[in-house]
Symmetry: C2
Subunit: 327 residues, 2 copies
């Protein structure tokens, strides 16, 4: 849980209850690995213990409030497991060597092991949530899983494209990232204090926070600095992933529009140079502005909800936090 | 549902109710594909409509009997979806071109699409079963999924090995195949007429039927004939998968024991020749005998259960059927 600036503030607002719930989530994630044999269990542990911001569990808890504690932990664990499952399979397809500073499963143990590990994480995510006995909750996660798979396909279909526009990019952000944020918030509503009648508003909050998160992630890939983000600049460009900064920069710089990404970005130094060029157009500021618009919309989605002040403050902190971070 | 000899007999014994349940399973499988976008939905449809014996759904229904119809259909669909999910990912790892006479998803649409399709099928399997609201049923499927993943790893770890023995082979059969057969039978018991108290006996039946099924599958790979099995002989040998016929043949023919599989089987004609050589040792008969032992054990596992004659006859037919088939 490093690199996420608002965490400390959140834990102050969320109080000991939030800390306790997050702690129970970690314990449960560690347990999940234990019953799958030595090799597979090892890969699952390796994946789950790599950490991350645990942003999806946090959303479950902040939206869920107090009440129905055990079910909220199950939902938080399920959302994180689904997220991890997609990361493990993404790394297989990308042949990625490291994630969060440690070797990926595919790099450490090969494609077979990583595919099996991801499959297991998918299964466990749903088994965990099903243990709440709440069918409508499982349906929410299932829809998010479908969106994730479609988003992944969209991203790969659009790789190296010179014609991806803002609308298509935002659709991808929604499918690939924001729908699981939405699901986490909906699960919090369904299984926690707010109840089903608050699920749409909280879901809408989560969706917009998710889009802002993804846009800002894509800004960080271009802006760096690497010593803060923990990865070289332009990683997406090297993969051929066309993100908002490049889309906006192409509008502002006609020469950029005519460049064939595949031919000019073949090594890290070139990606770094292209990042500088994108930054020079002012595209990063424009992208940040759009992310902030989604943050504002997210907060506005909560306006009709009856929330105690502490909860509203915490949700606002999360929304602001996704565009005030480095990792 | 072609190539499965006992099907007609089963449908006669099972009557119109079994036909109706299998028909509802097909309809539901077709529906599952519909809400995942055009591309992904297409791949899912392609996978699910390729058919197969629907042996796992059949086991759910035959063990479940009448009663709780909708939940049994959900369990049948879930078991088949989980099976399909593993096939799609296996094909990715193997780079397989065809399955059941049509192009695999990976061959038709690439690794990205096939990985996403498999992920989606995993998710849908659990969502489908969770819709029964029966937590213990989801736990059964989750354990089977874990076993499948471990079995897959075991198979790949043992590829090309010259030291895999019978015990290790049987462990792999159990994990890779039989545990899902067991789960299908347990689900039938839990959600159908027999109830939880019959789950162990029916699960034990399913496990042994599953092991017999896998052994006989491995015999067919060596014995052919290709015009009946629909694939060339020795496909497993070409993949380096060491199965019971080879293990037994190595015991009987010292020269076979000293052969390095990787160097002598590099093309289909060589695999075919090795199949002849394995057959000459008498290993196929011995392997068939072992499969028949498991079939007998499966039937014996039912002896203490109170079953009406028709149901017992149908379950015996399934058990006999796995070693009297070509596909």
């Amino acid at each position: 849980m490093t690199g996420y600036a608002p965490l400390e503030a959140l834990l102050t607002v969320g109080g000991p209850e939030l800390s306790r719930l997050l702690h129970r989530t970690e314990s449960r994630l560690a347990q999940v690995a234990e019953t799958h044999g030595r090799e597979l269990g090892g890969h699952v542990t390796h994946t789950l213990s790599a950490g991350g911001k645990r942003l999806r569990p946090m959303l479950v808890f902040l939206c869920g409030g107090s009440g129905a504690g055990e079910d909220l932990v199950r939902a938080a664990v399920a959302a994180e497991l689904l997220h991890m499952a997609t990361l493990v399979h993404d790394d297989v397809l990308d042949g990625a060597a490291t994630r969060r500073g440690r070797a990926t499963v595919v790099a450490a143990a090969g494609r077979d092991a990583a595919t099996a590990t991801g499959d297991l994480l998918f299964s466990r995510a749903f088994a965990e949530l099903a243990s709440t006995g709440r069918e409508e909750a499982v349906a929410v996660l299932s829809q998010a899983s479908s969106a994730l798979a479609r988003g992944e396909l969209l991203q790969r279909a659009d790789a190296w494209s010179d014609s991806v526009g803002e609308e298509r990019y935002l659709e991808r952000c929604e499918l690939k990232t924001a729908r699981l944020f939405e699901a986490a918030c909906r699960l919090g509503a369904l299984l926690g204090e707010p109840g089903p009648e608050a699920a749409d508003a909280l879901g809408s909050f989560g969706l917009r926070v998710g889009i802002a998160f993804q846009i800002f992630d894509d800004v960080l890939d271009v802006s760096g600095p690497p010593e803060r983000t923990g990865k070289p600049r332009g990683t997406d460009l090297l993969d051929g992933t066309v993100t908002l900064p490049l889309i906006l920069a192409r509008r502002r710089d006609p020469e950029l529009r005519d460049l064939d990404l595949r031919s000019i970005v073949t090594e890290p130094a070139q990606a770094d140079a292209l990042c500088d060029r994108i930054a020079l157009t002012g595209a990063l500021g424009e992208a940040r502005e759009l992310a902030l618009t989604y943050v504002a919309e997210a907060k506005a989605a909560l306006s009709d909800l009856e929330l105690d002040d502490r909860r509203r403050e915490a949700l606002d902190l999360v929304a602001d936090g996704v565009v005030e971070r480095y990792a």
